[in-house]
């Protein structure tokens, strides 16, 4: 299975009926494709919409109905729209149940860096800092390693997105939680052993007696 699809399918299992969910760009966006149709999840687009629907069919797009990247989307029955102060009030105020974001690095204490690489990539943080500071649960969806280098690091050397630790990291190899503030291997991806995860993880991971395989 494609690594990104493993991640998206596993993250989708974290969502519950009634949740207000904000998905970041990249892998997180794919999560919406794997939410069971009987689950009533509200997706927020931070440019001012709750109730985002799929990309509209050819000819059905409207210039005033867009996602946070400015691309056309649709709205589901029951959707609502609002200004940016309300949108970030929802985010910072703890009304968003789950946010799923991409990451550059997550460290052994669950701190996330995902908005800049000094001297190389300085696009701006957009809504990321508010989401990590304010959403009830923060899930990072990212590849375990990039170019053979672990993205689960002992300590982030890229600028942090927030001092608040994230709740869960889902990669193509593992699910990592932070009970008691310590990175802990909670699940492995199908066909991946604990030893294989440890071999490509820079951060020290606590290993419980039993590490189940991800259910997708």
């Amino acid at each position: 299975m494609d690594p990104q699809i493993i991640i998206a399918r596993r993250v989708a299992k974290e969502l519950k009926s009634g949740d207000l969910v904000n998905l970041g760009i990249g892998i997180p966006t794919l999560v919406a494709n794997y939410v069971p149709s009987d689950l009533k999840v509200f997706f927020q687009s931070e440019n001012g919409l709750i109730g985002t629907g799929p990309i509209p069919e050819q000819g059905m797009a409207h210039p005033t109905l867009t996602d946070a990247g400015g691309r056309p989307i649709s709205a589901l029955p029951g959707a609502s729209t609002f200004d940016s102060a309300m949108s970030f009030g929802l985010i910072r105020g703890g009304h968003v149940d789950v946010t799923v974001l991409g990451g550059l690095q997550v460290d052994a204490h669950g701190q996330l860096a995902n908005w800049m690489i000094p001297g190389k990539m300085v696009p701006g943080m957009g809504g990321a800092m508010d989401l990590v500071s304010g959403a009830k649960r923060v899930i990072v969806a990212m590849q375990h390693a990039a170019k053979g280098k672990s993205k689960i690091v002992a300590k982030c050397n890229l600028p942090l997105t927030s001092s608040r630790p994230v709740s869960l990291v889902v990669t193509d190899m593992a699910v990592i939680g932070f009970p008691g503030g310590k990175a802990t291997l909670q699940e492995t991806a199908p066909g991946v052993t604990v030893a294989e995860v440890l071999a490509v993880t820079e951060a020290e991971l606590a290993i419980p007696d039993s590490v189940p395989e991800m259910k997708l």
Binding site: T64, T66, G69, G70, D83, A85, M125, G127, S133, S163
Partner: protein, 215 residues
């Protein structure tokens, strides 16, 4: 409120002015005002805008014409021209978390000195800012932000200047309409007074100084 042509409105904006422009990735942006700023070559602008849109679209046009000297924004990663101008030090860029950006503008429009936010504590954003403890929790003091001109785009404007917005083109527009000395509005549709029901007015008419006539 006075109805004016787009040429007249932009003639009131001096070179070097501070402007806040509504829109999110060019959605809900007063395109005609931006086209006219470019035509009248209003340079040295201080721009307050969520993003830099993309080249040829929304505030992206101001970067195409190199009219911006200072920018306060939350994300400019989708406009390579704005990125180049920042890296070449042609524009001074202040990158602000989006929730902080909108609250600073809201504070500016609501007579507040600033807001206390947890966003940015313990990050680069906190550098040089006052930190304040409230009930054992740490917040950053983020000061109010205003501009000389707000350029706003609405879906409906009535003859008095009451405004209503459409879907995701609302974004920063109503907040910015509170936070500038002079508010200039373009609207998709200009309609008789009464068409927008009182409950559906988002920006009340007294906030609007100039409405750009259509057609």
């Amino acid at each position: 409120m006075r109805a004016v042509s787009v040429e007249e409105a932009v003639a009131m904006i001096p070179a070097g002015a501070s402007i806040m422009v509504g829109g999110f990735m060019g959605v809900g942006t007063p395109e005609r005002l931006l086209d006219e700023l470019v035509r009248q070559k209003k340079s040295g602008l201080t721009l307050i805008s969520n993003d830099a849109a993309t080249p040829g679209k929304g505030v992206g046009k101001l970067f195409d014409a190199a009219l911006v000297s200072r920018l306060s924004a939350t994300h400019i990663g989708l406009n390579p021209k704005a990125q180049q101008q920042m890296l070449a030090n042609q524009i001074a860029v202040d990158l602000i978390p989006q929730g902080t950006f909108v609250e600073r503008i809201r504070a500016g429009g609501c007579g507040l000195g600033g807001v206390l936010t947890p966003t940015g504590v313990g990050t680069l954003v906190a550098e040089g800012k006052q930190q304040i403890e409230v009930d054992g929790k740490t917040f950053l003091l983020e000061t109010a932000m205003r501009a000389q001109f707000a350029l706003v785009h609405a879906f409906l404007a009535d003859y008095l200047g009451n405004l209503a917005y459409a879907l995701t083109s609302r974004n920063f527009n109503p907040v910015m309409a509170m936070a500038a000395d002079t508010v200039i509005v373009t609207a998709e549709n200009i309609v008789p007074v009464g068409v927008i029901a009182p409950d559906h007015v988002v920006t009340p008419a007294p906030l609007v100084d100039y409405l750009i006539s259509n057609g």
